[in-house]
Symmetry: C2
Subunit: 317 residues, 2 copies
């Protein structure tokens, strides 16, 4: 059973409305009302050795990356981070491992601008779970829903780097990561940009964890709209392009995932505000397409030829 079906069939029905719960299971994060003007944003992210990170990897890298992946959900909601808790299960907590974990926590705190507030450490198979909390002004949290017909579709940063790095991840020497390795191990921190988007710019937003194809689909399903993406505008990570070439790097960007960049929609009238937020927050941003009324259909346009991208993937270039 896929996680998606499990959540939809079994967990979501248990997430009832409540005077405090503004947004329950189903978005990047949950939103809870707190007082008159403030909302709490909460998200949790769990990673297991060999499934979510390579066996034998430096735990400092693993821990810092797990913090980055979780904080990315706060960025996607436009929230200010308040803190995170870290639950660690590891087989044998000796002093050397404790040092690596502590270094990872310190790197995570520094890079993702979020304090550690608690945690739990138990003996067991290596698993790491990070829960992040942030705040937004009431009603301001960005969601997956909200995209409108004719909105522009934008992404931050470049895509495909993380998946390209993961294809031959053999270097976890923390002092000597290549620029491409960093695309996997050091997810970007888009907090400032996300907070800016939440001030009336974006109509919907999420972070790219499943690959562009899957994540655009989340926006389309939430809005009932379609989208057209200009293949030539997709900002492919140049190091991925250099390593695997044009078509393979496009596939990595499109299907690979783990980029943790923001994907968002905004009306065409906001283009200048997006560009100016990009400058002030030092966040590269690219307009890759536009929404339309073609119900949940994703079209990829390449040199004038349009291809429908289906659920079963998109491998026909």
């Amino acid at each position: 059973m896929k996680e998606f079906s499990f959540i939809k069939e079994f967990m979501k029905p248990l997430s009832v409305s409540d005077e405090h719960v503004v947004l329950g299971i189903g978005d990047d994060a949950a939103v809870i009302r707190l007082g008159e003007n403030e909302e709490l944003v909460v998200s949790t992210d769990t990673q297991v050795e060999s499934r979510h990170f390579p066996v034998g990897a430096d735990y400092a890298l693993v821990v810092a990356r797990a913090i980055g992946c979780a904080v990315s959900d706060l960025a996607a909601m436009g929230a200010q981070p308040l803190g995170f808790t870290l639950s660690l299960s590891c087989p044998n907590l000796n002093v050397e491992l404790a040092r690596r974990i502590a270094e990872g926590v310190a790197m995570g705190i520094e890079r993702y601008q979020t304090p550690i507030i608690g945690g739990d450490t138990v003996q067991g198979p290596f698993t790491i779970s990070v829960t992040v909390m942030g705040r937004v002004e009431a009603g301001q949290a960005l969601r997956r829903t909200g995209a409108q017909d004719d909105d522009d579709l934008w992404v931050t940063g470049t895509l495909g780097g993380s998946a390209a790095a993961l294809e031959e991840i053999d270097n976890t020497d923390i002092g000597n990561l290549s620029a491409l390795d960093q695309a996997y191990w050091q997810p970007p921190c888009r907090l400032e940009f996300g907070q800016g988007l939440a001030r009336g710019i974006a109509t919907s937003c999420l972070d790219l964890s499943d690959g562009l194809a899957g994540d655009v689909r989340h926006i389309l399903q939430s809005s009932g709209l379609g989208a057209e993406i200009d293949r030539g505008r997709i900002p492919i990570n140049p190091l991925a392009l250099g390593r695997v070439g044009r078509d393979a790097s496009f596939e990595l960007a499109f299907q690979g995932g783990d980029d943790y960049e923001l994907l968002f929609t905004a009306p065409a009238s906001k283009r200048q505000e997006v560009e100016s937020l990009s400058l002030t927050s030092n966040t590269p941003v690219t307009r890759i397409g536009r929404l339309n009324l073609n119900r949940e259909i994703l079209l990829i346009v390449d040199d004038g030829n349009a291809t429908i991208c289906t659920n079963s993937g998109y491998g026909h270039f």
Copy 2:
């Protein structure tokens, strides 16, 4: 390396003060300031198969219990629950397992009065991590620190039942749990009582997870005080007493842990308020001893004989 040393040496130094972080690593839960009058209480609890729950146990029981253990930290802080997130790693999520998990979540929501707001499900060795969030009025959260000389020492409920049940846990048939099995699988919900204690009654509070001896020690270390406990007043679970006898059941209460009852201190002037809160919240409560100035020394008084309880345990009756 023990979890305690890991936290003290490696994690606590990373938990810096912050304009928002009122209480970081080290208590039952963290406290974060939110607006003028409100604070957020956050705690996380991780459980691993075979270490924290028996292999082959019904996952509905495991999940519901994990929720109860985490919510217990909110009770110990005097907080009102806002919601919890559930991170699950399990080897093979088929429909039957999904149903057991969903039943456990539903039981947990019902019994511990806390809505589910999100989570994450991944494939991996069976591990469950619950993060709970609650609210308190600013400055009202109960802590481990705060006990005063001459304060009474109180516990809710009865002790030793969970440890007695765990000694021969062979029944995880959810429809047919014995009363003693329930002491392990269904931690009590002391939210209402804890919230009452936070309205100016208790000077310190925590939930009993390490056994009475270890948890009293947490209060003594936090306050620099000593305590005298009247052995005859310790409320031993009568089913545990019936199964293993007086001395062994005392050991289970004292060293066994996992009772998730509240242990708290309050001035003698508050006795009537404690009793009256006990009645209105339908929570049994027992005064078991008193604090004194004997720096961090725990004395057990039994029929007029006093024994010093040391860190290395207390097995000399």
